[in-house]
């Protein structure tokens, strides 16, 4: 395996590997950009992703000091977004520790690789609780068990426990960590996942095994479960059927993908050469 020198594992890349080693290979090893559609209803998909991104941005702006009423004025033409925003403000931030950090990234090392987590919000109190808030805009609540097992839950808590000492003011006992998924499109329903030293140990073993397996892999086979191909844009590369349906798509995953629909502004300042 040859990952680029600036590569870091994330919940997204590990999730891709867990879903399909070939997808991991194409996306992260061969860095192949591939414009095929994820779902048939491309514009609906795009609008939904953009709205989710806008929502995350609003909360970030607010936590950096832009007053809520000013932000609310920009939502006049979007009832759904305004509803999410109001729920996030009224229910999402309730009872959280004082110190709040929006869009914070933490990095740690694991099995000779870098592991990175980008948090929507970290709320902590030195010596007290350390809460991870992850905003979700999907309307359907997933099963608690599935969410507990989700790569995001595993990676986010583990990285905070192993790399959060500086922002916490000392090592964070895993028992002080909690991860809350807040479903703003489901009335602000909150699914909380506390942490523990035993869970951290189990997570470390799981993550180390995964990273080790990727490191040692000589081949990256196609997934045997073809249902995983439905929303994968490499379908035509792998000869694996047609695009899936928008209504079956799980936006919880796409919400964490920073690059989804990102425009590249690095080209901006360059004049002919």
């Amino acid at each position: 395996m040859k990952l680029s020198a600036d590569f870091a594992f994330t919940q997204g890349s590990l999730g891709d590997y867990a879903d399909c080693p070939r997808r991991f290979e194409l996306r992260y090893l061969r860095r192949m950009r591939y414009p095929a559609l994820e779902v048939r209803q491309a514009l609906d998909y795009e609008a939904r992703i953009r709205k989710g991104q806008r929502f995350h941005k609003l909360l970030q702006q607010h936590l950096l000091g832009v007053p809520a009423d000013l932000l609310a004025r920009s939502l006049a033409d979007d009832d759904e977004l305004r509803a999410w925003w109001e729920i996030a403000l009224s229910k999402g931030l309730d009872g959280l520790p004082r110190e709040r950090r929006a869009e914070t990234t933490l990095e740690s090392s694991l099995a000779g690789q870098r592991l990175l987590a980008k948090y929507d919000l970290l709320a902590l109190e030195p010596g007290g609780e350390a809460v991870i808030i992850d905003w979700k805009t999907g309307a359907r609540l997933p099963l608690r068990k599935a969410l507990a097992n989700r790569m995001q839950t595993v990676v986010y808590r583990y990285v905070l426990a192993s790399a959060g000492a500086q922002i916490y003011g000392g090592p964070i006992p895993p028992e002080r960590i909690r991860m809350d998924y807040v479903y703003v499109a489901a009335g602000g329903a909150r699914l909380s996942f506390p942490y523990s030293a035993a869970q951290m140990e189990a997570d470390e073993t799981r993550l180390t095994d995964m990273v080790g397996a990727i490191d040692a892999a000589a081949e990256f086979p196609l997934t045997e479960d073809e249902r995983r191909c439905r929303f994968c844009n490499y379908r035509s590369y792998c000869d694996r059927g047609e695009a899936g349906d928008f209504n079956d798509f799980d936006f919880d995953d796409a919400e964490e993908d920073e690059d989804a629909l990102a425009l590249d502004f690095d080209q901006i300042a360059e004049i002919e050469f």
Binding site: F7, S74, E107, Q113, I167, E242, F265
Partner: protein, 705 residues
């Protein structure tokens, strides 16, 4: 330990291990190990326990971040937050976007409650064209200027960027250019027109929440820096500064850094001596030096860790020939040059390919340690070199950031097929474009058969089914299998036309790609380059759609697909994407314009300087509407630009270019010369003159050039 003590010279160590509250100025030539100090300094700060999120690495260009990114991602790395890496552009954009609702009204935007739309360079040029084209026709602007319209727009954009970066209002563009350059009323008119266009464009942007680079830098300077929330954010995020290649940055960056330096806890400012080759992008090395006064300690690195003794001697000899102080030579510079004169250009290309092949096969040089450089890289030269290398089994990669995206085969094919699929645009492509598109789209179809298919099945702007070929012999010649593939493509397009449900153009490209072109039997199947180029085209078309959709709040809606294709036709879409530029370089020789190579800031063992007779090595582009020197901070008000200034500029440009190149070359430079250039003219530019004169000054042996 992240930073081993033993691997640095005493001067380097003084920079790396400076106290966590010290501000250090570090200067030296390219290749003296300055960036290594910068990288180690960041790791050292982290080792000190400095929070990663309080460190800012500030660079003139994103591509220079790679060594920092790689060090920070090293497996033995630290645990904690993330070090921020920014350019002035990226930081301004992020800050303006975040604090938009607090500053939009004060900054003069007409719809402060609406979101902003940030314009990429191509979008800025497009918007410029929308504003200016009516003026060109109605008011006869620029009637005496004979350049492509795309270049006209880019120079007006450039003037506005210079105003923001240097720090003067756009209302002064015309006056500044006129006082230095206007030889008569005709030229004065041109600058007045350029001024009027810049102002019209700015008003257009303010009325629609559009922000091009110049405007968001301006808003960052004027509004964001005065905002308490933004200042608090910057104070917490920029307590420790690492600034690399400060000489390649512009006065606006320098002012911002001066502001940070007053309050930050520690800093390392790295300045490359004798550089500043990004002047055409606003670099101001003289102004950069003023930041030295904020530093507690000044360090200097003198010795190159890149160049061998002969290369060092060559570097000195060339610089001395162009006016730098001569240094005592420790070695014979001729040993760092290999050259051969040719009569015709293709002979030179073959010689270059032979030499590359020999280096790899006989001397074991890795292909990525070879850079083939020319002042400009025409398609013919790029193609000729790539083909000559390919024949010898050598992989090459080339990057020319300002090459139009429409010139890439995959993009060309997608665009031609889009025209057929949208007959209501009335932009049916010529037969040659269709033949080319079919050849690219269908695996196994060569140009001869593609041309035959086109001749028989492309009529009146429409494709027809394979069965329409009456002659069995002709069907056999095409082959049944290729005919089937053609039919699959034809059927897909025909169904799309019949459905009469026009898709957004980027979605059309994605569907065509995913449902046909990337399937087995088609040209894009498992082709990484085709995938990347198609994705760049999709990104570009989508960015276009988003900007214009948003603007339909303020303006009459337009047919977005048609408008996009017209924009491509006008040459406004380039392939400026950094991610392609940074694509893996292992195993391939680089073919690039010299400045593109420099902007990636890496050294190689061997360089080939091609077309050394060309005056493009020293002469700036013909830019009748702008002037990087007159619009700089260093230009004295009221001074007139003379022919002597131009000649002196040529010399200085060439000197800094040659210093920059030689300092990024470890072993030798091959000089590619042909008496007749690519276009058949004899060229005797300043580079050739300089090489000959420098070598003539050496004792005894004959000059090689």
């Amino acid at each position: 330990m992240l930073v081993p003590n033993s691997s640095f010279s005493a001067e380097q160590a003084a920079g790396v291990f400076a106290a966590a509250d010290e501000k250090v100025w570090l200067e030296g030539p390219a290749g003296s190990g300055k960036t290594s100090v910068g990288v180690a300094r960041v790791l050292r700060l982290l080792e000190f326990g400095v929070p990663a999120e309080s460190i800012l690495i500030f660079l003139p260009q994103r591509s220079l971040a790679q060594p920092y990114l790689e060090a920070l991602r090293a497996p033995s790395g630290y645990h904690g937050g993330q070090v921020a890496i920014h350019t002035l552009g990226s930081l301004s954009l992020r800050m303006v976007e975040t604090f938009w609702f607090l500053i939009a009204e004060e900054a003069g935007f007409k719809h402060p409650q609406d979101l902003p739309t940030f314009l990429s360079l191509e979008m800025a040029q497009y918007m410029m064209s929308r504003v200016i084209e009516p003026l060109l026709d109605q008011r006869d602007y620029f009637h005496s200027v004979r350049i492509e319209r795309a270049r006209l727009y880019s120079q007006i954009v450039d003037n506005m960027n210079k105003a923001a970066l240097v720090g003067f209002p756009i209302s002064e563009i015309g006056a500044r250019l006129k006082s230095a350059l206007a030889a008569g009323p005709e030229q004065a008119h041109i600058f007045d027109d350029a001024q009027a266009c810049a102002q019209a464009f700015r008003e257009h942007c303010l009325a629609r929440n559009l922000l091009d680079f110049s405007l968001y830098v301006e808003v960052f300077k004027q509004q964001i820096m005065g905002l308490p929330q933004a200042r608090a954010y910057l104070r917490s995020r920029c307590r420790h500064l690492i600034v690399d290649n400060v000489e390649e940055d512009n006065p606006a960056s320098h002012r911002f850094l001066a502001h940070l330096l007053e309050t930050c806890q520690s800093a390392l400012i790295i300045c490359d001596r004798d550089a500043g080759f990004r002047r055409f992008l606003g670099a101001d090395p003289q102004n950069a030096r003023r930041l030295r006064r904020f530093c507690d300690v000044s360090l200097e690195l003198k010795d190159s860790v890149v160049m061998g003794a002969e290369m060092q001697a060559l570097s000195n000899a060339l610089a001395a020939q162009l006016g730098a102080a001569a240094e005592a030579q420790q070695a014979d510079p001729r040993l760092a040059i290999i050259s051969e004169a040719h009569r015709y250009h293709p002979q030179m290309v073959d010689w270059v390919a032979d030499q590359v092949s020999r280096l790899i096969a006989e001397e074991g040089v890795a292909p990525e340690q070879i850079a083939l450089l020319a002042p400009f890289l025409s398609d013919a030269l790029r193609f000729g070199l790539a083909e000559a290398l390919d024949k010898r089994g050598i992989a090459a990669r080339s990057h020319r950031p300002s090459r139009a995206l429409r010139d890439e085969p995959a993009a060309r094919a997608l665009l031609a097929l889009a025209r057929i699929a949208h007959p209501h645009w009335r932009l049916a492509p010529p037969g040659m474009d269709i033949a080319f598109a079919l050849m690219t789209a269908i695996d196994g179809l060569d140009l001869v058969r593609a041309a035959l298919l086109t001749e028989m099945l492309y009529r009146g702007g429409k494709l027809h089914p394979f069965a329409d070929i009456q002659s069995a012999a002709m069907q056999d010649r095409i082959t049944f299998e290729l005919g089937q593939r053609y039919d699959a493509l034809y059927t897909w397009i025909q169904r799309y036309i019949d459905a009469k449900q026009t898709l957004a153009l980027d979605i059309f490209f994605r569907r065509l790609f995913g449902e046909v072109l990337s399937r087995v039997g088609f040209g894009f199947h498992r082709d990484v380059d085709a995938g990347n180029i198609s994705m760049n085209l999709v990104d570009s078309a989508r960015g276009f759609r988003w900007s214009l959709e948003f603007m339909s709040r303020y303006d009459e809606p337009v047919d977005l697909g048609l408008e996009y294709v017209k924009m491509v036709d006008r040459g406004l879409i380039a392939n400026f994407y950094l991610r392609d530029w940074l694509a893996d370089s292992d195993g391939a020789a680089l073919i690039a314009p010299a400045y593109t190579f420099l902007l990636s800031n890496r050294a190689v063992d061997y360089q080939f300087w091609l077309n050394i007779g060309s005056d493009g090595w020293s002469r700036r582009l013909y830019q009748p509407l702008t002037h990087p020197h007159v619009l700089s901070l260093q230009w004295p008000a009221g001074a007139v630009w003379t022919d002597d200034d131009e000649r002196e500029l040529d010399r200085r440009t060439l000197r800094s270019l040659l210093l920059a190149l030689t300092r990024r070359c470890r072993r030798a430079v091959y000089l590619g010369y042909s008496e007749l250039s690519e276009s058949g003219y004899e060229g005797r530019g300043l580079l050739l003159e300089t090489l000959q004169a420098a070598l003539r000054r050496l004792p005894r042996e004959e000059a090689h050039v």
